[in-house]
């Protein structure tokens, strides 16, 4: 059974950029969500073993998603991908349980290094 990866961002351009940045040889099922509410629903449906999460989104923002994951103990490894690069923002998401933080704009090198560093993608 392959890993389910969820890309949660309100921008379709950002979702596409993120999807392109994923390592080509990584055998995963990629799903998309356009805001935090869709994102949480997708995680509940088992589509978010690994979640690439934006912070600034309508309806429910990334912080809300992290809080929901923690409160309901949802099984998701979250990597925040955000343009909010303030040190405070990085601290806050780590405290809320995010595994890693990637600064936007995303590229293939950043994605690969985080995925290997945290052992999410092995054998690369």
């Amino acid at each position: 059974m392959s890993l389910n990866v969820l890309i949660c961002d309100d921008s379709s351009f950002a979702r596409k950029q993120m999807a392109r940045a994923l390592p080509k040889e990584w055998q995963v099922e990629v799903h998309f969500a356009g805001d935090g509410v869709e994102g949480v629903n997708a995680i509940r449906e088992g589509k978010g073993d690994v979640v690439f999460l934006d912070l600034t989104m309508p309806n429910m923002d990334g912080y809300g998603v992290l809080e929901t994951i923690r409160r309901d103990d949802l099984p998701a490894m979250v990597i925040v991908v955000s343009g909010d690069i303030q040190p405070d923002a990085q601290d806050r998401v780590k405290k809320l349980g995010a595994m890693a933080f990637i600064k936007k704009p995303i590229d293939a090198d950043k994605a690969r290094s985080v995925l290997t560093e945290y052992g999410i993608m092995t054998g690369a």
């Binding site: 379709s12 351009f13 909010d84 303030q86 704009p105």
Partner: protein, 203 residues
């Protein structure tokens, strides 16, 4: 607001995302300067008619007394104008965060305004430029007014265009009363050139 669209939905989405990244970089610079957390909103991208500028600006701050700076920038056949408007009530908090001692005179406020403007406008414009591989050269910042009415500012921005792409970013600082609005305006001709760069990214 848009009558005849000069950008399509994919392009609008892309402008918004590029702005999101650029304003984050600008906020990071400001946060380090003030040692505070800058709250980032979703930037608003719209095509406005000249006559709508008034409405765009009126929505910009909750206070009618504002101080504002503008700065032009140009590069790769694209020219734009950045306007930074501060709610006048912001200056007291700004001065205290910047550890500015002494009385808050008009010239002290001017210094705070210019310092903040150079950080926010510069970082934001370069942030957008970097992503599009455009080097923007900035003109000299010009003070549009201190403690003036929003309507007076509108007269300035109204010059020589019918339709423009407006990028609005409303910055607030957490826990203190600081509120400012950064408005980037690109005229139709510049938007055509920008759209080509955007389409390349979208491809």
């Amino acid at each position: 607001m848009s009558v005849a669209a000069i950008i399509n939905e994919d392009q609008r989405d892309c402008y918004q995302e590029l702005t999101n990244v650029a304003m984050g970089q600008a906020a990071d610079r400001l946060a380090r300067l003030l040692n505070a957390y800058v709250v980032l909103p979703i930037p608003k991208i719209s095509v406005i008619e000249n006559s709508d500028l008034n409405m765009a600006l009126q929505g910009a701050t909750s206070d009618s007394s504002v101080s504002a700076v503008c700065q032009g920038f140009i590069g790769a056949g694209i020219s734009g104008e950045a306007m930074l408007m501060f709610n006048d009530a912001s200056f007291a908090s700004l001065a205290s965060l910047m550890k500015y001692s002494g009385p808050l005179t008009q010239s002290a406020e001017l210094e705070l305004l210019m310092d903040t403007a150079s950080v926010l406008i510069g970082a934001c414009i370069h942030g957008i430029g970097d992503q599009l591989e455009i080097v923007f050269n900035q003109g000299h910042p010009v003070v549009l007014g201190q403690h003036c009415d929003m309507a007076d500012l509108v007269a300035y921005g109204n010059n020589g265009w019918d339709k423009a792409l407006a990028i609005e970013i409303h910055y607030t600082i957490e826990h203190v009363n600081i509120e400012c609005e950064l408005l980037l305006l690109f005229t139709e001709e510049s938007v055509r050139a920008l759209n080509k760069k955007i389409d390349y990214l979208l491809d």
